[in-house]
């Protein structure tokens, strides 16, 4: 069975579980909404200030909410020890990484769109400008987050890992995604998408580096 088909089988399985269980809808999205409301309460209610900070709050909410999504993606593996099953299967462990990253990236894209709509409603952000750049920022940013989260989400398997370690690792590592995403998004929404090229390039570099690194080292996190 080829590598791509292995990764595809794993991605399909993860997505089917997510659609079936609706945990994203049930937990992650409400959490993002709560964050946005909290942000709004703590910064606002001055309209212009909220408008200016909106792209930042969008990506901030994404960053925090995505940690929940990463934990969820490995929770399903932990319920009956299914992760051991993935170890026992004679497949390339890198396929597990890429498959899970693909599945969680898809979920993050949906989350991002929902958060964008929420932000535009709560903070009076006008949607428009260079849509292509907005879309590119969304896709590249979520792929980068997905790579980091799928790699270190495995650590939640440790009995002592629990809450703090994954966010502690993911958030500093994802700073380039945060910065580039915010800059590219705010430039694009202001119609200045042509200036966002450097930021998008940075996102591409981040994605390539983390996907490559994850592919190489993932099996060391999984195997005993």
């Amino acid at each position: 069975m080829t590598f791509v088909r292995q990764a595809g089988a794993i991605a399909a399985k993860d997505l089917r579980i997510e659609i079936r269980g609706r945990h994203g809808l049930g937990t992650v999205l409400p959490f993002a909404a709560t964050l946005l409301i909290a942000f709004g309460l703590s910064i606002g209610p001055g309209r212009s200030l909220l408008q200016r900070t909106a792209p930042g709050l969008l990506w901030l909410a994404m960053l925090f909410a995505s940690v929940l999504a990463f934990r969820r993606t490995y929770e399903a593996e932990g319920e009956d020890g299914a992760l051991e099953g993935l170890v026992l299967a004679p497949i390339d462990k890198a396929a597990v990484f890429l498959g899970k990253a693909a599945a969680v990236a898809a979920q993050l894209v949906v989350l991002w769109v929902a958060v964008l709509l929420l932000v535009s409603a709560l903070f009076d952000l006008s949607l428009g400008g260079d849509v292509a750049v907005v879309v590119a920022a969304c896709l590249l940013g979520t792929v980068g987050l997905a790579a980091v989260g799928s790699l270190f989400g495995v650590l939640t398997e440790s009995p002592r890992a629990r809450e703090a370690v994954v966010p502690l690792l993911v958030l500093p590592l994802a700073v380039p995604v945060l910065l580039s995403g915010v800059k590219a998004t705010s430039l694009a929404l202001a119609g200045l998408g042509s200036q966002a090229g450097g930021w998008l390039g940075l996102l591409v570099a981040f994605d390539v580096v983390f996907l490559a690194a994850g592919t190489i080292v993932f099996e060391h996190l999984l195997e005993d």
């Binding site: 958030l171 380039p176 800059k183």
Partner: protein
């Protein structure tokens, strides 16, 4: 490791002597640095005496990043060779690195308050160093997770490699982000020229702190081995494996040696 006991003992004695020499050298070197930076070097033309902090801040920053590089290289070495000594080096370097990173940030802030009037101005290099500190803390947190030494070494190695690879990207992104609003940055000197005595002092400082780093590593490795020896001596009779092998191979290389 079938080294005869006699050679091992002599090796240990030489190692202890070497460690002591290293310790005294670093003490002297740091003392010289302090004397030169506080007394010998003239105050900077525009920044005044505060600029003297740079003679410690710059070496500390150099070591903060050098330590992380050592973590990176040792982590790769561990994953490739599976010899536990590389993991020990990575752990020791991370612990030293945290100290130097915290020192860098503290001195940077102490310098910034009188010069800029603010404790923090999101200077790109200081900001990257702050993120580096968080990455170090994350690395050390991961080291506390697994029970099995081999798994701990492997997980830590993965974090060490991935985090290091991220640092240049973080640096680039923060620098670009900051360059949009050019603000005050940490400058070694107020003036544009550097007097020879200042350069000399700076180089001595960098050298002194590097020697200090090496001493801290050697010290930490020895303390670590003492801890592991205590555990190994308790474990060895229960499993019938010689103490030396227990200490050297809580990893997969033991499988090959049988």
């Amino acid at each position: 490791m079938g080294v005869p006991t006699g050679e091992r003992l002599m090796g240990k004695a030489t190692a202890r002597r070497g460690e002591r020499i290293l310790g005294w050298t670093s003490l002297v070197a740091v003392a010289v640095t302090l004397i030169m930076s506080l007394l010998v070097v003239p105050p900077d033309a525009s920044q005044g005496n505060v600029q003297r902090l740079m003679y410690v801040h710059v070496p500390a920053a150099w070591l903060a990043y050098l330590s992380f590089f050592v973590v990176f290289v040792s982590s790769i070495a561990y994953l490739v060779t599976k010899r536990i000594r590389w993991d020990r080096l990575a752990a020791a370097s991370a612990e030293a690195g945290v100290l130097f990173t915290a020192l860098t940030i503290a001195l940077g802030m102490l310098w910034g308050k009188p010069v800029w009037g603010a404790w923090w101005t999101w200077d790109p290099r200081l900001t990257t160093t702050a993120i580096l500190l968080l990455l170090y803390i994350g690395y050390l947190a991961v080291r506390r997770l697994p029970e099995s030494p081999a798994r701990r070494a492997r997980w830590a190695a993965v974090v060490g490699i991935v985090a290091f690879v991220d640092v240049p990207i973080v640096q680039l992104s923060v620098t670009w982000w900051r360059s949009l609003h050019q603000g005050p940055t940490v400058r070694l000197l107020g003036t544009s020229t550097i007097a020879p005595i200042m350069l000399t002092t700076l180089l001595i400082a960098v050298g002194a702190f590097t020697v200090l780093y090496c001493y801290l590593i050697v010290l930490r490795l020895r303390v670590g081995r003492l801890e592991e020896r205590a555990v190994a001596e308790a474990l060895s009779p229960r499993i019938g494996v010689p103490v030396a092998d227990v200490m050297d191979a809580p990893g997969e290389e033991a499988v090959a040696r049988g």
